[in-house]
Subunit: 440 residues, 2 copies
Amino acid sequence: MDVTKVAIIGLGTVGAGVARLLLEQQDRVASRAGRRLELVQAVVRDPRKPRESWLPAALVGTDIERVTNDPAIRVVAHLVGGVEPARTILLRLLEAGKDVVTANKAVLAEHGEDLFARARQLGRSIAFDAAVAGGIPIVTNLVQCLAANQITSLRAILNGTSNFVISEMEEHGADYHATLQQAQALGYAEADPTMDIDGTDSAQKLAILARLAYGVNVPWRTITRSGIDRLHTVDIRCARELGYRIKLMAVAQLADGGTPREGLELHVSPTLVRAGTQLADTRGAFNAIHLVGDAVGEIFFHGQGAGQMPTASAVVADMMDMAVGRAQLNLRSVIPWGTPTPRVVVRDCAALRGRYYLRLMVDDHPGVLAEIAGILGCNNISIASVLQHELDGMPTDGCQVPLVIMTHKTVEGAVQRAVEEIDGLSAVGARTIRMRVLDD
Amino acid sequence: MDVTKVAIIGLGTVGAGVARLLLEQQDRVASRAGRRLELVQAVVRDPRKPRESWLPAALVGTDIERVTNDPAIRVVAHLVGGVEPARTILLRLLEAGKDVVTANKAVLAEHGEDLFARARQLGRSIAFDAAVAGGIPIVTNLVQCLAANQITSLRAILNGTSNFVISEMEEHGADYHATLQQAQALGYAEADPTMDIDGTDSAQKLAILARLAYGVNVPWRTITRSGIDRLHTVDIRCARELGYRIKLMAVAQLADGGTPREGLELHVSPTLVRAGTQLADTRGAFNAIHLVGDAVGEIFFHGQGAGQMPTASAVVADMMDMAVGRAQLNLRSVIPWGTPTPRVVVRDCAALRGRYYLRLMVDDHPGVLAEIAGILGCNNISIASVLQHELDGMPTDGCQVPLVIMTHKTVEGAVQRAVEEIDGLSAVGARTIRMRVLDD
């Protein structure tokens, strides 16, 4: 049986999982790839860190040249986080003639265009199914299995930490900060969870998916995004009362008519999702992706978006694809980076149409609602429902009480303007919370 | 740009959908495959049947030799239903040097071994993602994306007609025959729906998935199966009262310990699925597949299991894979037929462990329950709950009433024996309904 020699750069959580699958499941991998994948090098930063007992010490070294100088190594799993030195390492691997499998969405979102251009120049490939949604093979599904479709809508829960925190807040009624601390203690959230909870991680992943689904070349920093860090239990409870759950949604959908001409709606934000739908029912640290394609119709994927072995599952599948030669065909013909469809433009969020949830803190005296309703009316926003009643544990700002308004379908720019006006009223306190609503 | 010439055999519903995608979305397909797929022949049985206006008449002919004798045609979509002449046609295409994409699960379930052996001899490939679960690309996901995993559990709703009928019965309380007639009138069920509703279709698809997931070579006829044709609204209502929904489940899971050594549990039957789970929430004509892999953990797929364009989406993706050369690599290295894992054996259903739902029709007089409970006790079956109360529209057999018993975990053989004894009691009427329960 043929042998493909492979290496791993980085033996953190995912790297150790990949090493374990390659070493402990050699026969399984060989029988399914039709060739043996032989792990010959594992490059680490810190040689003194204790390693798993099943990992032969001879495999482990600190010098990346043990990989780049060995022409027999064809495929390398690049399991280094962050942007630098991850980018430099990835380039060195390509330049040394390696096909690279990476799980690093940050480096792709930041430098994908350059990295893929360099790979093409060198006749090499970069596979990255593990970089988005962990164990869910969404990249291969978009690029290959659903390639006959124009995707018209992609709505996804891509950050397990945020989803875990929201689910816990929902279930136990605990506030955001207490829940986040608990998630950190349980290992569901990083010591520094900023990028997870502020929407950065989701926006980076969404930028990658939007390239694959729509061919748009969107720098992730330009994606309008907000995270869960301002989320309050009162909003979770009011949403539930209205028949919704709050999810940190990453959305990339063709606006209105669903044709590329209308432009692409692209954003990450806490969103009210109708209870009972598959996205609303996605709980804990799971990820989920709901797609609509013009041929396939609706299709939904749900699985573990992070974690050692789910991510390793995706990395090893990509390594097998590289060893077999499939991934190269995928990536060379599809060219995920560098061929934007010029017709698709990202719409200004102000032009988006939809329903909105507004939660205000208002003085509890007559006339306030009339004043607010007046502002909404002047901005052509019609009110679908109003919720104002006493709830335990809601924020109180002196004698202010929460007032929740659900709008009918309107334009986001009008809502932004109305909220600015409302926040200027003397009877209105803390900044008004505004969230998108997914109804259909 | 390179061109791959392709042909279609069969212009029924799916064939017309495939022709439409290839003709109307030529540029899309070309940009994603990196080469043009040029449809040059469409072979039909009945030349007088009216065809869609967008289909150039010059493409359509009745003679398969227009395809087999044209060496420029490399990839052929085989969209002929049933076993014969579908099998003969598929063999002729392989022998003419074509790579074949088929949506025909019946011919694969019946003759897959021979067809794949012949394809290997000839150096040709057969792709078949459309044959199972329509638009859900479960074949590629199992064979490629999840290839690093040992699948430990596969639970699926694979027949849209049955799921539609059950959903309608549940929603409207209408009985089985009326619902089926309505489904036929709406086009959700075939004129002859026998293979859909008696479990044949699901068993054929399950045989294919079990080969891919476990390497077992199981003739579909040997799969223990029952359909929805004996399903009564009373069971749907009692199941709901107990916190379950009834689904026609196709199950292939490693028994007990979840290791191949323990044997494979393989069956198709109406099953109680816990309400609120993703499988229970799969409604209407949708299909769904819940997998557990030893690395990836739980992963769930939901989409349209049939219909013109969802199936065409899968066929055209396979044709693109063939044109690019990916599918051949998939299918040559993985060899879905012909390499059984000898360690995995299919367990006798009598040895299965689980909970069971029993619905009896019993005389409404004292002592009957004691008699039944006695038989269950003698067979070491302990009762978890009993449901006996009046419901509208339930079957009445003279003065008999329905009695529902949920067992604790037990062995299926014991339940079979107990039911036989119970059905012999003079106080027990129509044959007892026995269903498996999925709790975890």
